[in-house]
Amino acid sequence: MEHAPVHIVDTSLVAAQDHERFLALVREEIVPTMTDAGIECLSVLASSPEIGEDVEVQVTWRVSDHQAWNVARRDFFLDPRYHAFSATAASLRTGGRRRILYPVEG
């Protein structure tokens, strides 16, 4: 398999009452910081807050390859905004999952 481009698929679980705050954090702090580090935000999807479950917020990021991810990783880690939004996101999350995916042929 060619490990490129790299898709980082982050799925966070947040309580229904917190989901709007979490989505605002994604829009206003997480996406701008990661974009500045060279990571493209492909999509932000969320499950319904009206079905009696925690809301799943799935953000998909893309970088060209693992070399580019390594450089972006350094750049966002050195950005104070990264540490601020990470702390807020952690306080709102009830669980989650990160997976790294790649396009498949055919």
């Binding site: 679980l13 050195l78 989650g96 997976r99």
Partner: protein, 221 residues
Amino acid sequence: MLRRYEIYPVDPAASAEAREAMNVGIRDCANFIPELLHSAIGHAESETNLNFVWEHAYQSPEHYQRYMRHPYHAAILDRFLMNDSPERIIVDNPHGLGLVGYDIDEPDYLLPAGAARRLVALQLAEGSQERFAGIAKEEAERCGMINSIFEYNSFAAKWFDGETDTGLPTNWTHLWEQGFADLDAARAYQPQWREKAGDMVEDSIELLYELEAGVGYPEVK
């Protein structure tokens, strides 16, 4: 060679399954990244909340760079460790003691199976390295350490590629790896170096753990 440590506080609320997944994923990652050498983890006793230690090495900065760019690093290691990962199971480290290490010619740090390590991170006063090295040598002989390596922490700011200074400051100027035959011996050790060093030591943290050797860790020194 680059000798390297990663040190973390594991979230006390993390599930046993998640902890085990991280333990195995880190300890045995040489199964997937052959550039990674001499990997062992330890569940540390400490006066701080730092309770997870991963010790390992690389033959050269080029080997370290391949490790950093490997898909396993992004997919498995970062999953448990990166601040932004929804699966992170460590918490913020208030001590500034996370990634540290030093350069060494040979893997003198290896310990036999069943051995224990006391890792001492030191903030030494400027100009005291040579005098402290003498104290460390004396102390190792006095109490029968099976291994003692005292080195300048040259790795802390070079975590990106093993060569370039990222500018991220660290207070921890030196590392002292102390080897003991087993955990009981490491616990029984009564340090005298603090009294001898006096004002040379501006700060220190000690972590004590039994080595849980991973894939590729030689069983004898």
